[in-house]
Amino acid sequence: MQDRLHILEDLNMLYIRQMALSLEDTELQRKLDHEIRMREGACKLLAACSQREQALEATKSLLVCNSRILSYMGELQRRKEAQVLEKTGRRPSDSGPPAERSPCRGRVCISDLRIPLMWKDTEYFKNKGDLHRWAVFLLLQLGEHIQDTEMILVDRTLTDISFQSNVLFTEAGPDFELRLELYGACVEEEGALTGAPKRLATKLSSSLGRSSGRRARASLDSAGGSGSSPILLPTPAVGGPRYHLLAHTTLTLAAVQDGFRTHDLTLASHEENPAWLPLYGSVCCRLAAQPLCMTQPTASGTLRVQQAGEMQNWARVHGVLKGTNLFCYRRPEDANTGEEPLITIAINKETRVRAGELDQAQGRPFTLSISNQYGDDEVTHTLQTESREALQSWMEALWQLFFDMSQWKQCCDEIMKIETPTPRKPPQALAKQGSLYHEMAIEPLDDIAAVTDILTQREGSRLETPPPWLAMFTDQPALPNPCSAASVAPTPAWTQPLPWGRPRTFSLDAIPPVHSPRARSVAPLPPQRSPRTRGFCSKGQPRTWLQSPV
């Protein structure tokens, strides 16, 4: 039986390879080949595994490969269909009349993913029996691209599942749909009974404790069928751990914000499922998007600009349209050397652009004027291009920018910072993750010193300055004074008040604690007296009005 299944699988792979070749789509072909090879490797590794934890990693790799193959197949079929229809002269069924304008692509990055758990009191406190452990990971899909996070071991000492991964998708449109799926598997051998005959299994399960017995039955029942899910293919008939879909959600442009947000999760499994985890029902993350129109110049060329307030003085500049500004540099080289532009003209949703001059002077054709409203004042910059073609191409670039801004919405207010994800280290020996709460006594803590000690021991040298929450209990201001001089360093990332008494999950909108020592952009503290912004570290509406001596 196993052999037959293997043959079928090999045939599938062969078919897939042939499809890719016939389409002559070299890029997709290459990706498919790569995934097929990875999949073969994962299968071999799984067969050779002796330890449960190795098997979990190998199974995860296998599942991700399968899902990528499936997704690329789907993409191949779509392209094949489009090709065929083009040849026969008909439009593909799923596209209407060609759109006049298409929005620019962008980079979408999701990071600081955290899923709170909600253990029942009895499970947490009584600490009875053996420690159940689960292996979980997230699968993220945008378009035909699938990425996964690292695998994390979860047990009841954890209050949240926190992923360190920083996942980047580079070809997103403003209408993107980022699907997020949480998969879990038991670390302990759930399948210990799957091989045994039914009668023996029933006898064993009835003699086990009630909850573990229930789980064993559930795993037996589902052993025949597959834990099928939208993204993942069913596991081939390879003995090994089985991952189940625990929860999912889909995020779109509306969820994008330069800060942490909480989203609802749709729970997909119930208590009978062997891999069921008590999820609180939300996921907290930072979803940022950088449309290309904000980070790449969309037009550049020679212009003559009339200086504001000086009627007859036209300066020859090198204009660069990038993001929400038209930078006018004295020389073309200045754009690359970091020199300050002579004039910076804002281009945003409220800017009005007109071709031609208001009072057409003789011999002054090919002008365009850009007007911005500042309160009651209207400031207009008039620019002159070198030819009619140049004027048209500037107008076209500006219309495209306005269109992109209308599509990407809040992503065009200011550039959101996106960190290039560091390549993930290969999975280490999976150590049990402890939690702060496990180390704290349950009695209400009145002793700040004891709390600080635990924190210091745990965080090690990272606590150079006293944590900001300390200010709530002392008189000294630990938060930066907004009226002080402009050089204020960003505060450390451990910013939430410690829970006392019975441990609870972190506040859902608070900043997760930093586990890795790498630098990252810090989100603002809840009382909005944030330090001076640097570069593009934006945080929504400005709340400060800083003063600096010069």
Partner: protein, 122 residues
């Protein structure tokens, strides 16, 4: 030059000769504002959505005071660089370029009466 709408007085040209203090060249005033700042907290602007750069303090006897700069002045240009659409940090940098010993500012200011009223209200 004619005054801009909203201003009672024509734009002023102020030429400040920086003073050397040890390693630094100082001008002797402080600025507030910028496109990355909250304009509603600006005590000197008439229009509370104005994100321009304003003079918030002038040191006594300093180069800025000697040159005639006044508290509440809005800085439009510095040595030809536009200051109406800059961030707070960009503004500070344009004023403190080490290579420049003299800065020529183009500023606008409200009438004296209005300036006093504004600072008393805030």
């Amino acid at each position: 030059p004619t005054p801009l709408p909203g201003q009672d007085v024509a734009p002023q040209r102020v030429e400040i000769h920086k003073l050397r203090q040890g390693e630094n060249l100082i001008l002797g005033f402080s600025i507030g504002g910028g496109i990355d700042q909250d304009p509603s907290q600006n005590p000197f602007s008439e229009d509370k959505t104005d994100k321009g750069i304003y003079v918030t303090r002038v040191s006594e006897g300093g180069p800025a005071e000697i040159a005639g700069l006044q508290i509440g002045d809005k800085i439009m240009q510095v040595n030809g660089w536009d200051m109406t659409m800059v961030t707070h940090d960009q503004a500070r940098k344009r004023l403190t370029k080490r290579s420049e010993e003299v800065v020529r500012l183009l500023v606008t200011r409200q009438s004296l009466q209005k300036a006093v009223q504004q600072s008393m209200l805030s």
